[in-house]
Each structure stands twice: as C-alpha cells, then as structure tokens.
Amino acid sequence: MMRVTDVHKAIDGKPILRGVSFTIEPGKIVGLVGRNGAGKTTLLRTLVGVYDPDRGSVSYDGKDIHTYAACKQDVVFVPDAPAALEMYTVRECAAWYGMIYPKFDLFFFTSAMERFKLPMHKRVRTLSKGMKMLFSTALGLATKARLILFDEPTNGVDAVAKKQLLSLIVDSLHENNSIVISSHMLSELDRIADTVVLLQDGRTEDVWELELLREQMKKLQVVFNGDKSPMWLHREDVFVLQQVGRVYTVILESNEAMTELQELKPLLVDELPLTLEDWFIGKAGDNDDEA
C-alpha cells in the first residue's frame, strides 16, 4: 500500500530523518514509536506531502506521493491539533471534507459527533483540547481513505473519551485500509497495533510484528545465586529492564539466552507478561534506567 524508502529530511540544517524505510500493508494498524525528538511528526508530515524529503521516496500503490498529489485522496493526515480548521464550525468542516474526499461518510461523522456529544454548530476553536481531538479523529476516519495517519490522537483526551476514540479507530479498520498511529501511549498501541515501527535518531531502528514479538520474546524476573551479577546479563540478546537489589527484570530475545540462564541455575525465574512498553524501554531506553 505505502512504501517508505530511505527517507532523509533535514530541518534548519539539522538532520531529523536519516534513513527511514518501512512498508504499510493493508488491514493493519501500524504504531509509530520513538523517544521525543526521534522524528515521528516530521516523518508523518513527509509521508503526506507537507514536507518534501531531501532524499528517498514515499510511494502509495507504486506512485510517488510527492509527485502525484491525487494519491492523497486515499491518504489522510490527522495532526495532533486541528489548528487549520479552528475558524470553521464542525458542520462546515464536514461539508468541506465532503467536497475534498469523494467517499466522505457524513452519516458516520454526524453519528460520531452525537456519540461524543459534540455540537455541529460550534466553531472548532471553541472546543476543548480533548474535544478537538475527538472531532478531528472522526473527521479523518469519515473520509474513508485507505490510509489514515494519526499524530498523537489521544493527547489531552480523558479516559472515557480515549476508550471511545480508540474503539472508533479500531472499528474503522477493514482488510483494505490501514491506520498509522504515532503515539507515546504505548499501552494503547499494545492493545490495538499489529505492527510497530521504532524510530531512533531519525532512523527506523526496528519494525516489530507484535504477535510475533510476544511469541519470540520473554520477560522474566530473575534472582541469581551469590552477590555478583553474572556475565549472562551482558549478552546482546538480553535486555535488563530493571534491577532492584538482586532481582533483575530482563527481556530475552533468543532461546539460547534461556538455555544459558537455566544452566546458571538461578534462585528464581518468573515469567511476566511482555508489554510493548517493556520492549520499547529495552530498545530505546539505552538501558540507563536500572534502579
């Protein structure tokens, strides 16, 4: 559906994206994660043509999105705040999007507005931050575009509305469309994403299929014999998430690590449920948070 190939982008001479490559397949929710300043928003803006890449390409169904603007009938970007729509009323925004996107579903949009109790006659600028996000998410989804990109959709949204918003997003997924969500809320992505792209220092550090990740990786709590920590903890396929006294919380990337651990005959080995957050901290956190 969308192929991102070796995208580079510098802003004010500072490289923000330094080789981003991944593909987005239909029928999937893709999470885009990375630490602050990793380039997530810049990447999303480059994917939809707001920014032109310095190098590399973004193609949608084989066509370069920066050359063929018409591709964007099927690629919609929902930014973290609908600043550009603030002067319009909710109803006017729906009317305008209806003119832009031929598949715009007005019934879906008005139903969502009723569900979120958002008045159609109000100007967008008068809505609260959370209401604005609910509005722009519903507006983006109502376009029925095949690829919708959200930048921090749950920012400033309360817990109840967040649940509604995420269910609206998940319910909108069909086998032919895809959704990309850039978010810091890893627990949310953990529940809804199929694939997660990790951006680090402007590069695609890793692309994880969450289902596969859960099968292959193990999160363990381990207590070793003796006071000295074994060399096993320094293996490349072992991430130490946390150390509290002699208790280590670790992620194992391979079966070999597990076999070697068993040979060490630790006092305690307890398997814990692996979350995306654990994996993210292990990969992006520089292992500097040991307690």
């Binding site: 803006r45 018409a70 964007k72």
Partner: protein
C-alpha cells in the same frame, strides 16, 4: 501526465469562506468612494458643490467628455488595490502563520492548483467589486441631469483599466507571498517594490554623477528608451491617459503568476515563519539589499558630510555594513513557525 481540474470547488469554497470579509469590505469601500460620492455631489451636497461638479464633468479631459468624472474612480481604485493587497497577505502570509498552509499541502491537490485558485479568487473579487460599483455608478449618473456627459463605452474602458491595474498589483503581491515566510516580509517587499524604481533611478544617477561614469551613445540610447518605466510598479497604478503599457505589464504579470506557481510548488514548509522560504532568495536579498544601502549611504555621505568621492565611499561603506547587520538580525527572527 495527470490532468487536473482548474476549478476545484473545495478550494474555492475554502478561499471564499476564509476571505469573504475582504470582498465585502472592498465592495463597501469602492461603493462609498465612487457611488456614494457621486450621489452626494449630484443630489445632497450644497448647491455650490453640485454646480462645481457639473461644471467639472462637462470639461473635456484627455479628449473625453466627462473625463474628470472617471478620474473620481481613482480613489475607489486605491481601496480596491488595498483590499486585494490585504487579500494576498491573508491567502499566503497569514495562511503560513496559522498552519493552514501545511494542512493544504496534505490535501489531494498539486500545490500549483492551490496557488492558481488563490490568484483566481483575487481576480474574481476585483472584477466583482469593479463591475458592481461602476455598473451602479453608471445607472446613477445616466439617470441624473449629467447623463449627457456619461458614456457607457467610457465607463467600460475605465472599468477594464481598473481591473487590469488591480489584477497586476494583486499578481505581484501574491508572487511576493510565494517565497516569503511571514506576512510582514510580504508587506515589506511589496512596499519596496512600489518605490524601488524611483529610488534606484535616483541613487544610480547620483553614483554616475559622482564617479563621472561615461556611457557610450548606444548604451545611452538604450537607457533613454521608455521601456524601463514599465518596471516602475508605482506607475502601473498612477499612470493616467494614453501610453499605458498594457502589453509589457501583461507579460510581466503573466511571468509573475507562473513564477509564483513554480515557487509555491517548491515551498519548503519547514521554513514557514522564517523571513524567506528559500535560503537562496534570502542570500540574494542580503546581497541586493547591501548594494542598494551602499548606494543610498553614498548619496547621504556625499550630500551631507563630504561632497567628494571620499564622502561617497565612506557613506556607502557605513550604509552597507548597517544594512547587512539589520538584515541579518531580521532574517534570523522567527516569530512563529
């Protein structure tokens, strides 16, 4: 190659919704300064003013009976020009400021269509304002006791001239917005363009006189041709009567439109909020600005401090350095991305 519709309803709707106030203000201002003033002079003013008005329009001016009447349209034109200038700032400079520009670039339309729509909506506003105002004015005048001095042909010619002038100026101010990153720089460059020709003529003449630069006859004959006057943007507005260079100004305006479309298509959105969208144009601006400041500084040094070449050179040096520092400071200010 993909074919695109030139008239995109969604874009026209958005531009109209965003700027309709300006259309109403342009219309209101031109109706007031043309239609209302004529009605007042015909019917409500003191008798002496009413008589003077009739006497004035019965005068043959530039070979046209009622020529003075059409001169009244100048005040309305100034407001139409001002309105279209504000419109260009609203559509480009202000759009960059409130991030609407970034939103627009994510829509399924090529950027040149976005720019062309902005240009077309401005032309339509100008045409609507002038047609309505002059149409109503003609009805009023033709139904009054001065009807014998009013000719529909002359009103149409005058209206077309006003549309032409306003369209050229609007094209220029929109073009300036295609590569400036803030509305304030768009305004500054526009004001500069309006006065640049007279300023340059003045300082270059001074330079030639001080350094006794001699020109060959052939060069002088090229300099003496009136062609250069066509680039005096101020004269696009103020020139009255025969000799108005519709041909040259049309060509310049078309080039400005195409240039604006080209530059807008290559806009680097990440530079919104900087004075210039393109670093190369910023560099050129610094170089040109420093040269002009040096010429002006030289004039000041020569005329006010030391009437000799040393005075000129010292003034030029001070002007160049000051200008460089000022431009550097201003181009590094980034009020809002």
């Amino acid at each position: 190659m993909t074919k695109h519709k030139l008239f995109v309803k969604a874009l026209w709707w958005k531009e109209y919704r965003q700027t309709r106030v300006i259309l109403w203000l342009m219309l209101l201002a031109s109706l007031f300064f043309i239609l209302y003033v004529h009605m007042w002079k015909l019917w409500w003013a003191p008798q002496s003013i009413r008589d003077a008005f009739v006497q004035n329009i019965s005068h043959v001016y530039h070979g046209v009976v009622g020529g003075n009447l059409y001169g009244d349209y100048g005040s309305g034109l100034i407001f139409i020009l001002f309105g279209s200038f504000i419109l260009s700032i609203w559509l480009l400079g202000q759009e960059r400021r409130n991030q609407l520009n970034e939103h627009m670039f994510a829509l399924p339309y090529p950027r040149w269509i976005l720019y062309l729509t902005k240009w077309m909506i401005g032309i339509v506003y100008i045409a609507i304002t002038i047609v309505i105002t002059l149409g109503l004015d003609f009805v009023v005048l033709a139904s009054s006791h001065v009807s014998e001095y009013v000719s529909i042909g002359e009103v149409v010619v005058r209206g077309l001239h006003m549309i032409f002038v306003a369209a050229s100026i609007y094209t220029l101010s929109l073009f300036l917005g295609s590569f400036t990153g803030t509305w304030s720089m768009q305004v500054a460059l526009f004001l500069l363009c309006m006065t640049l020709f007279d300023f340059l003529t003045f300082v270059i003449r001074k330079f030639v006189r001080v350094f006794m630069v001699s020109t060959t006859k052939s060069v002088q004959s090229v300099l003496d041709t009136g062609v250069w006057d066509n680039f005096n943007v101020g004269k696009w507005v103020t020139h009255e009567g025969p000799g108005y260079s519709y041909g040259v100004i049309s060509v310049v305006a078309i080039l400005l439109l195409l240039g604006g479309m080209w530059l807008y298509s290559r806009n680097r959105t990440e530079n919104n909020g900087k004075q210039f969208i393109f670093p190369a144009i910023e560099k050129a601006y610094i170089v040109v600005g420093v040269i002009f400041a040096a010429l002006y500084g030289g004039y000041l040094g020569y005329d006010f401090f030391y009437p000799g070449r040393i005075g000129y050179v010292c003034g030029a040096g001070v002007g160049a350095v000051l200008c460089y520092l000022i431009i550097r400071i201003f181009t590094h200010i980034r009020p809002r991305r």
